[in-house]
């Protein structure tokens, strides 16, 4: 442990700046002016429409479903993928592990196993409509991070009640930071070669989102 450097660096910082107490720092932080938009204007169906638009702009496949038809919508998507083996986090709702496919529950699958599955189905913690962002906090119905990273095809079921309009709204909904979070705004992409946008580098090349209408 390089205590000497730590002390030197902190001493250097303190010498450079006017002395301030922790209380003063805290008070100053509260005084920072935040005049950016922190209100929302869209209702639930407008938010959903915006999310759908943004997701499609990024090239994600979007479908909507109700509690009564989610299973058939899900089945249709899985069939359309052409895959037969899918991974799922331990607490994915049982009825979403639809018949006709092989399901591997991720209770410690190896990377090789994850690499070989045809896709993965998870829930999410939130979706931000304005930026088309799917938010995973990696709880047991979303799975560990590797689960939504290695398979090439990821289907995410987001409840309409989990939608927020803006990023500030997401942060006000989750005042306690999760230990892990992944914010997905479309399939992976690069523009490193002549600024030509190529989709699908690492990470799932195919992102499917089902918006489950659980609010009227």
């Amino acid at each position: 442990m390089n205590v000497a450097s730590r002390d030197r660096i902190l001493a250097g910082i303190r010498a450079a700046l006017p002395v301030r107490s922790v209380e003063r720092a805290s008070a100053d932080y509260q005084q920072i002016q935040r005049s950016y938009i922190r209100t929302v204007v869209r209702n639930s169906s407008e938010c959903t429409a915006l999310l759908v638009e943004r997701l499609r702009e990024y090239g994600a496949e979007v479908a909507e479903a109700t509690p009564s038809d989610i299973v058939s919508v899900l089945s249709a998507q899985l069939r359309a993928s052409g895959g037969s083996t899918f991974a799922a986090p331990p607490d994915l709702p049982l009825e979403w592990r639809v018949p006709g496919f092989e399901w591997l529950i991720d209770d410690g699958l190896s990377y090789e196993q994850l690499d070989k599955v045809d896709g993965v189905v998870t829930t999410a913690s939130c979706a931000v409509a304005d930026s088309g962002t799917i938010v995973l906090h990696h709880g047991s119905a979303e799975g560990r991070r590797a689960l939504t990273l290695l398979p090439d095809w990821h289907l995410c079921v987001v409840r309409a009640s989990q939608l927020v309009e803006t990023l500030p709204e997401y942060f006000s909904r989750f005042p306690h930071a999760p230990q892990l979070a992944t914010y997905i705004s479309g399939p992976s992409a690069t523009a490193d070669i002549e600024m030509t946008r190529i989709k699908g580098v690492h990470g799932p090349r195919f992102l499917h989102v089902i918006i489950l209408r659980d609010v009227s």
């Binding site: 303190r14 006017p18 005049s35 705004s185």
Partner: protein, 492 residues
């Protein structure tokens, strides 16, 4: 296809971006200005990002409010940097991470090497991080027998091609598709590879997959460090970041001390301005945030190396301190008319463009890179687009004053025509009588160089720098003040 293990040791880049040895900017710019391919590539790249950014900024009704908040937030952190760094350290440690402090690049490299050696690893995978380039980590690791595999597409292009980065967000923007094809074909053993960006990207994906699944140590930077939670934030597009920070057992994040932000919630401002500024998107494809270690999910051995390397010295004065607000979006270089013509290599540093022109000399304590503050026409386009409102022209002028003050003490000033010229000009301009005399003398001298139409086409010595590409209209036969005084006399 050749796997990465079969590659010979990576060659060091042809252009080593070391400010201690880089030629001065005017000299370094010359070969670049003659490189028509590079100029075309650079202009194309920045035009694409600029137009995307402009559209999104236009659409964002609270853009200026976001900028103001982002600027205030970053300034607030710097005013209280010690406090927030200690909070970060305490929270990160409580969450299972190890925090190290490195006073300079040498120490940072040593710390990183020790961690790698503890794991008996002989290769690492890397997420793009300018901080590691700043301390020349790859070269150091290679010399210690550790292969450092870049995984970012642009960084692979540079690493395999023996090139140096020329931009902090799109580091290979100076390389076009056929150049990439040639590099991949040769180094990945793919002679039939086409130059279609899709095919090139697919080749990179295949090349890296095995690395991601097997290499036990990864090195990253950090876009932000969150004091409140001990969290680290990585913003990326390709997914190689997620691979590196999720799959290996050991993860080392190297971050400049200025990267810390107070709270998780502050991302609501910073994430809104970063992607729009950097790539012209509302949000980049993947942003990852994690605190410490979580059993069963991701690296179980996590280290953060906090790097000073000259940053704490920059805190002393507000005019310089603002440099550290930077969130590395590169909007400034995309907007810069100088960068547009020269690209990044001319700046002789891994931080090019306007931010590089102020950051690099300061990190070097003005011992080096003294030409960089002058690599600007002070047009202010950078300040206009900076999401954290760094007044770059103000800092450039300040650094010019510091460079000049050093020059005042040095004998070389007697051989610097511009220095002498400005000192003489100051003497003349201190008195209207002297000015009138100098104007008369100037008129006579100018006539010696003027051609028949009264214009000067050639000047000797330093003046040739003007007349090489521009004529100079001769000094008129009557100055304004001479005209004014005769006019008034006439009226009287």
């Amino acid at each position: 296809m050749k796997g990465p293990e079969s590659l010979a040791r990576n060659k060091p880049p042809r252009v080593q971006l070391d400010p201690r040895f880089a030629p001065p900017f005017p000299q370094a710019a010359l070969p670049v200005l003659r490189n028509t391919q590079l100029r075309k590539n650079v202009a194309h790249a920045i035009d694409v990002i600029q137009s995307k950014r402009a559209r999104l900024v236009e659409e964002k009704a609270d853009w200026e409010e976001l900028r103001a908040a982002a600027s205030d937030l970053r300034a607030h952190v710097l005013d209280n940097l010690g406090h927030y760094l200690e909070e970060f350290e305490s929270q990160c440690t409580a969450a299972g991470g190890h925090v190290h402090w490195a006073a300079d690049g040498t120490e940072a490299r040593r710390i990183v090497l020790e961690i790698i050696r503890q794991k008996n690893a002989n290769e690492v995978i890397k997420i793009k991080t300018m901080t590691s380039a700043e301390i020349q980590l790859n070269l150091f690791l290679e010399q210690a027998g550790i292969a450092a595999h870049e995984t970012d597409l642009a960084e692979i292009i540079l690493q395999l091609g023996g090139e140096a980065p020329s931009h902090i967000v799109v580091p290979a923007l100076h390389v076009n598709r056929s150049q990439v094809r040639d590099i991949f074909a040769q180094r990945m053993g793919l002679p039939d590879l086409s130059d279609d960006p899709q095919a090139l990207t697919a080749a990179a994906r295949t090349y890296l997959r095995k690395l991601f699944l097997t290499v036990p140590v990864a090195i990253s930077g950090a876009n932000h460090l969150i004091a409140e939670t001990g969290g680290v934030v990585i913003v990326e597009s390709e997914g190689n970041g997620r691979m590196c920070l999720t799959l290996p057992q050991t993860l080392i994040a190297i971050a400049g001390i200025e990267k810390v932000i107070p709270r998780f919630q502050d991302l609501e401002v910073l994430l809104q301005v970063l992607a729009r500024s950097a790539t012209g998107e509302r949000m980049n494809p993947y942003t990852s945030v994690w605190s410490g270690v979580k059993p069963g999910d991701g690296p179980q051995n996590f280290h953060v190396v906090l790097l000073d390397n000259g940053r704490s010295d920059m805190l002393r004065r507000p005019v310089e301190r603002q440099t550290l607000k930077c969130i590395r979006c590169a909007a400034c270089m995309n907007a810069c008319p100088v960068y547009r013509q020269t690209g990044g290599h001319a700046y002789g540093s891994v931080y090019p463009g306007p931010i590089g022109a102020i950051l690099t000399p300061q990190l070097q304590r003005l011992e080096h890179a003294q030409s960089l503050p002058y690599a600007s026409s002070l047009c202010g386009a950078c300040y206009e687009v900076c999401p954290v409102k760094i007044n770059i022209p103000e800092v450039l002028i300040e650094l010019r004053a510091q460079v000049t003050n050093r020059e005042r003490e040095e004998p070389r000033r007697f051989f610097d025509p511009l220095y002498l010229g400005l000192r003489i000009a100051s003497f003349i301009l201190a008195s209207p009588r002297r000015l009138r005399l100098a104007q008369r003398l100037g008129r006579i001298v100018a006539r010696l160089f003027a051609s028949r139409d009264g214009w000067i086409h050639v000047l000797p010595g330093y003046g040739a720098r003007w007349t090489r590409t521009r004529d100079l209209r001769g000094v008129p036969s009557q100055t304004f003040r001479e005209w004014w005084s005769t006019r008034n006399k006439g009226e009287q």
